[in-house]
């Protein structure tokens, strides 16, 4: 029984009106300083990760071996968790949640200093790294991503060409027309919802910011109705609705299969999926396995233009943090820095490097040619958005909301898109008011 349990009992018997357990109050607000001399850093550190594939095939051990060339006395162990969010959440009730870990979405930003050691100030880190404000609390940074991601449509170039669409659609209507052409001229499923996996639909939330090329899009959601006329999420959700409503998706979304969809897209049985840059390498691998050309895998931005230019948002993938209770914070910091700066992890995954001066990955060459404008969203109100989202149970980051949208569009649920988005907006703004008061 740890201290929280005893406390919970106390709370249950209504002894305590308000409580704060502060697991390990002594180490709260600790810093993880970068070591000066690589030869002197010692210790065994445990790294928690979601990349089960990389731990199993030994890739992570290869990274560790490279790391040991500079830091010979640090031993790095990996633990890959399949159900990362749920498992780490429970482990974070104790002090043993590894030395370096990916910061789970459930942790409130304001609690970061209680769980993670600081990596330095925003001022100093933002000179070198992107996305620092995503983990910043009171001017200090608590996490660092190893790769940046960008939402977009993964598509099969060959199928799109066969359908006679060579240019990227510039409006949602053009996009739907293009999918219709694919349906009539090829055998491919124009768009695959990946309804069953759920999280795949969640990525439609990342449309936010791309439609109007607005770095303040997150702030707007925090302060207003995300589904107001013409707003980013409304445009995105309407497009998804139209695609499903026009029957441009797989026959039975409820039994869609994410793993199988990779090979099907590579082979041209599926034309398009809304995902992110992180998916490209997985689809290319699927193409190699299926014996088809990996170069057929293309990537395109959301069909909307501002001042005649496409726009795409770049954001961090999971941020890595250092356990505030870690006994080897220097070693942990050494690993985190090395992994971010020197491991080449982002390159290996065709992802965007978190380093400001690094070049864009080659898969994004068409983006450069088309002059797609890349923006970083201001995340200073990210915590508020998360709070409103969970409190109102709207769930912009959970599958349910878009699954319902798809059900509406294909007639499995009664109602109209307008009413649905209106009710979401109402829940959202009411919660906003309640929380503001």
């Amino acid at each position: 029984m740890n201290r929280r349990h005893i406390l919970a009992l106390a709370v249950g018997s209504a002894v305590l009106a308000a409580g704060c357990t502060g697991t390990g109050g002594t180490s709260k607000g600790a810093d993880a300083k970068a070591p000066d001399d690589p030869a002197k850093v010692t210790g065994t550190i445990k790294v928690l990760t979601v990349r089960t594939d990389l731990v199993q095939d030994g890739t992570m051990d290869k990274y560790a071996a490279e790391f040991n060339k500079i830091y010979p006395k640090v031993k790095v162990k990996f633990e890959a968790l399949t159900n990362y969010e749920a498992e780490v959440k429970i482990r974070m009730n104790t002090e043993n949640y590894g030395d370096v870990l990916m910061i789970p979405g459930v942790i409130k930003k304001s609690d970061y200093p209680k769980f993670f050691a600081s990596l330095g100030t925003v001022a100093e880190r933002s000179k070198k790294y992107r996305f620092t404000d995503y983990t910043a609390v009171d001017g200090k940074v608590y996490g660092q991503t190893a790769d940046g991601v960008m939402p977009g449509f993964v598509y099969n170039k060959r199928v799109w060409q066969e359908a006679g669409v060579t240019d990227w659609p510039t409006t949602p209507d053009e996009f739907v027309t293009a999918l219709k052409a694919i349906k009539s001229k090829t055998d491919a499923t124009p768009y695959y919802t990946n309804f069953a996996a759920g999280w795949t639909l969640t990525s439609w939330t990342f449309v936010n910011g791309t439609v109007h090329c607005d770095p303040q899009a997150t702030t707007k959601i925090a302060e207003g109705n995300p589904w107001a006329e013409g707003s980013d999420l409304r445009v995105g959700d309407t497009l998804l609705y139209d695609i499903v409503h026009e029957g441009l998706v797989e026959k039975d979304p409820t039994t869609s299969n994410w793993e199988a969809s990779k090979g099907q897209l590579a082979k041209g049985q599926i034309a398009t999926q809304w995902l992110g840059t992180w998916a490209i390498i997985q689809f290319q691998d699927a193409a190699k396995k299926a014996g088809v050309n990996p170069d057929d895998i293309g990537f395109m931005p959301f069909p909307a233009q501002t001042d005649g230019k496409f726009c795409a948002t770049v954001g961090p993938d999971y941020n890595q943090g250092i356990n505030v209770h870690s006994e080897h914070k220097e070693a942990a910091r050494a690993w985190l820095d090395w992994f971010t700066d020197k491991s080449g992890y982002a390159d290996d995954n065709l992802a965007i490097s978190p380093l400001k001066d690094a070049p864009m990955p080659t898969v994004l060459k068409p983006y450069e040619e088309q002059g797609v404008k890349l923006i970083e969203l201001d995340d200073s109100k990210g915590a508020e958005v998360k709070a409103i989202d969970t409190e109102s149970e709207v769930g912009i980051n959970t599958p349910d909301y878009r699954q319902e949208l798809v059900d509406l569009a294909r007639g499995a649920k009664k109602g109209t898109l307008d009413d649905y988005l209106k009710s979401l907006g109402q829940k959202w703004t009411e919660t906003q008011k309640n929380m503001g008061s």
Binding site: A14, A18, K89, T254, A412
Partner: protein, 315 residues
């Protein structure tokens, strides 16, 4: 002064009335009293750690606004319960339990039928028993995944139907009705074995002479079932009905794994899990879990009142 004297007289009384046997040596007495507890240490420790302590914790959390991970939690009194009962949409999901209730009725009838048939001499009797019980041995998660392929567009079910010349164009998990029926059917398949075994055990405990005697009297199989088997297994039948009703109210793993609660298949437990782990409202979810527990206890109690546990008296 008076009450001390009174007390003294009271303590003396038993000594006066009953002859006290020579007291066993103190040590022996202590041991005799301790022995059952020593045997009980292991099961009690397990029971307390894994059943009662979590429940006590859960009850405690249900009065807080804890999000499941933050070191900060505040006592909020009955707020979670008020929220639960003022948001009627949280109880709408119980309609889904209706599908599982209907399924349990079908399941009990089927299990009863198979148990009766297989308790008589049938060829390949043990083989069929195995076939019927086998699904219950498989992990629920595995069953969920297997049936995802089964219901897939062009999956097992569609292929089998095609063999019989029926080319269905039906999305089995596509509409709320179809999805819930399919999921409930999977539940029947999965839990039929348990009911079957319970019934079979009860039927086999009925003395064989009864059948022989009834046959001499000219009873057929239906008569035997109606007048010997059915009354003979009544306690097990009531138990099964109670288990089925509480199971229908708390249906979880099969819908959670197969659809995740999408397309109108969300049950109360799925909703609770989502409150706790998607929206991080551990306090509210604890309250919901407690309410479900109370509902199930209430339903069970009602059933016991309506169908009292009679003594079986066949002979």
């Amino acid at each position: 002064m008076t009450d001390t004297t009174a007390r003294v007289s009271v303590t003396k009384e038993p000594a006066r009335d009953t002859p006290v046997p020579a007291p066993a040596p103190r040590r022996a007495r202590v041991w005799r009293r301790l022995t059952p507890w020593i045997f009980l240490i292991a099961p009690l420790a397990l029971l307390i750690t894994f059943t009662y302590a979590p429940i006590v914790n859960m009850i405690a959390y249900s009065f807080t606004d804890w999000d499941g991970v933050s070191p900060e939690l505040h006592y909020t009194g009955l707020e979670n319960y008020t929220e639960l009962f003022t948001r009627s949409e949280l109880f709408e999901v119980f309609f889904v339990s209706g599908y599982y209730l209907v399924a349990s009725a079908i399941q009990i009838v089927a299990a009863l039928y198979f148990a009766t048939v297989l308790s008589f001499n049938v060829r390949f009797r043990n083989f069929f028993k195995g076939v019927l019980f086998f699904p219950y041995l498989i992990n629920g998660v595995a069953i969920g995944f297997v049936f995802l392929y089964f219901f897939q567009d062009g999956g097992t079910l569609d292929s089998v139907l095609a063999l019989f010349g029926y080319h269905s164009d039906h999305a089995w998990l596509g509409t709320p009705f179809s999805a819930n029926s399919s999921l409930a059917a999977v539940s029947i398949w999965r839990y039929l074995g348990l009911n079957f075994v319970l019934f079979l055990g009860a039927i086999q405990s009925i003395p064989g002479e009864l059948y022989e005697a009834s046959e001499l009297d000219g009873a057929n199989r239906w008569h035997q079932f109606r007048h010997i088997i059915a009354p003979g297994i009544k306690p097990v039948l009531t138990l099964t009905v109670i288990l089925s009703v509480s199971g229908s109210l708390s249906a979880f793993e099969i819908p959670y794994i197969m659809t995740g609660g999408a397309t109108g298949t969300e049950t109360f437990v799925i909703q609770t899990v989502k409150l706790a782990f998607q929206f991080n409202k551990t306090g509210l979810a604890s309250a919901a879990a407690l309410v479900l527990l109370l509902i199930i206890l209430l339903v069970t109690w009602l059933q016991r009142r309506l169908v009292p546990d009679d003594k079986v008296d066949l002979v």
